[in-house]
Symmetry: C2
Subunit: 325 residues, 2 copies
């Protein structure tokens, strides 16, 4: 039995909590929060503790799953907590991964713990798809398309605009580009040619829709380089039609072998009703791998690239050989 | 530099030979054959040796890639050669994998070598797709569809029928079943509902087409449980239109998380112009992993489940962290 705990109880924390129930070899010690534990009610009824209570749980938690955000939470939390616990996080600021890895690796190695950063689906399963595909087709080109799905970062960016009450932004692959790549072509695609953005916006009373639409469509990095559609809807419509957090996407690699012009396409696709529940499920599987490496005395920071697929499975070698190969 | 050699020079051996050229960290020592080496000319011009010459290559080959067949070659060759070399094979008789693993593991462990069995794409990449998907979505159901592609076994079965000069058989997923699963449904599918079979047959002079067609369609295991179409064509048409060995397929898993009925689909798809060239490419990537484990002193038999994704890559941890995660 693997004893897990959750640090941070937002959408992702609840996703991890739900995932633990689907894994009979895992049990949930509790949820740790920065909020007042009395104000937090868990879905499963598992106990809630203050962050400061963690000190008394040393040795009672096999893997602590960190469910904070990548912007400010994880860069501070993961190295700090890796000194006392085996940890898993879903750090997703791609450009800062080497720096985060170095900090977590140093902390975990110094105290003989095992950590894994950047779990989830991108980075995570999509990274695996890119790496396996590149390993087997070194002469090729890969593509990642995201969506259709809700981007929290882009939704937040719209909410920060003056006059906006709430918003939901969908990232959508451009169908023609996706189909060309899926058919084996290797086009050069600009940002605009790969994805489009669709926004559902609730205005505050008296706000100017033209000004808001312009502010969205000209926002650098987030929207200016994309074909963006803006729909103004009521708060009721937003709650009714856009309450979910679906996501997904495609990793594709087209590659060549031999002298006869043979081509090959490798495609990995995810279609997810709930981004946080799926991400939570991936983190629990990765926690199993971390726990196995820790038990074997293999300390330090890992990524999805460092764990063998069998490490993520509760099954024995015999079962895997007989039924999964 | 990783020194590879090929044992057995048919379609797969040539596929491995082509793959070595795409991997700058690999070099090909030579091809070993049971035939007269003078009668074998390699595509790349690499040297050809007799099987019995292998003894003098001990210590000069990092990984020997075995390209024989699963029916009679590999069960004998892989355990025997694992005593003197690190080896990789593509043993694909699913039911006999545990037995083959045990034999190869014993041989490799006894002499401190590292081996990998059942590499390729199924078993191989498809096994990885099934295992990763099951690990992250334990509450779910998976499906494997093969094709459209040439099945050598089924083509051979037709060739053994009296009156048949040559034949090519395509395995094709049933579109309705595939699309239902891709859309997230979890139907119970019979053999007939999953795949259909299309046969292109060249008759010997004077053969009875009705008798041949009946013999094909009623052949147990191979065709009787499938909707099978038989086309009679000329030898010229067979050579012109059916010379390639394309294959591919789909691994899908639909799974559930949480209490709100959220569903998720994970899909892995391959579309391959050349089954042997792609399989050869996978074997070379796996040879890299075998070589790394051997160098680290990790002996015995492995499968794709036991090698971390980073083991298959020529890139450093720093490069992987910066560019692939």
């Amino acid at each position: 039995m693997m004893k897990l705990a959750i640090f941070g109880y937002g959408n992702l924390g609840r996703g991890v909590e739900a995932a633990v129930k689907k894994n009979p070899d895992a049990t949930l010690v509790g949820v740790f929060t920065r909020r007042d534990p009395k104000a937090v009610k868990t879905v499963s009824g598992c106990p809630v503790y203050k962050e400061s209570d963690l000190a008394s749980f040393k040795g009672k938690i096999d893997v602590l799953i960190l469910c904070g955000g990548s912007a400010t939470d994880l860069p501070e939390q993961t190295p700090r907590l890796a000194k006392d616990f085996c940890v898993v996080d879903s750090f997703d600021t791609h450009a800062k991964i080497p720096e985060h890895f170095a900090a977590v690796n140093a902390a975990a190695k110094a105290t003989n713990h095992t950590a894994l950063i950047s779990g989830g689906w991108d980075p995570g399963l999509f990274s695996l798809a890119r790496l396996y595909a590149t390993n087997v087709l070194p002469d090729g080109k890969d593509y990642t398309f995201w969506g259709k799905g809700v981007s929290q970062g882009h939704s937040d960016a719209i909410r920060r605009i003056d006059g906006v009450l709430d918003a939901r932004q969908y990232t959508i692959p451009v169908e023609e580009a996706l189909e060309a790549v899926r058919a084996g072509e290797c086009p050069e695609l600009s940002t605009r040619e790969k994805h489009k953005r669709e926004c559902f916006v609730v205005l505050k009373e008296g706000a100017d829709p033209v000004a808001v639409e312009t502010a969205i469509k000209t926002m650098p990095a987030y929207f200016a380089d994309y074909d963006t559609t803006v729909h103004f809807i009521s708060l009721e419509e937003l709650k009714r039609d856009h309450a979910g957090l679906p996501h997904g996407g495609f990793v594709l690699r087209n590659g060549n072998t031999g002298n006869a012009g043979n081509k090959h396409t490798i495609e990995f696709r995810l279609a997810l009703d709930s981004n946080p529940e799926f991400t939570g499920s991936v983190l629990v599987a990765l926690a199993r791998g971390v726990y196995k490496h820790f038990t074997a005395g293999d300390y330090g920071c890992k990524t999805v690239f460092d764990l063998a697929p069998a490490d993520l499975s509760p099954l024995s070698r015999e079962e895997l050989l007989a039924h999964y190969l």
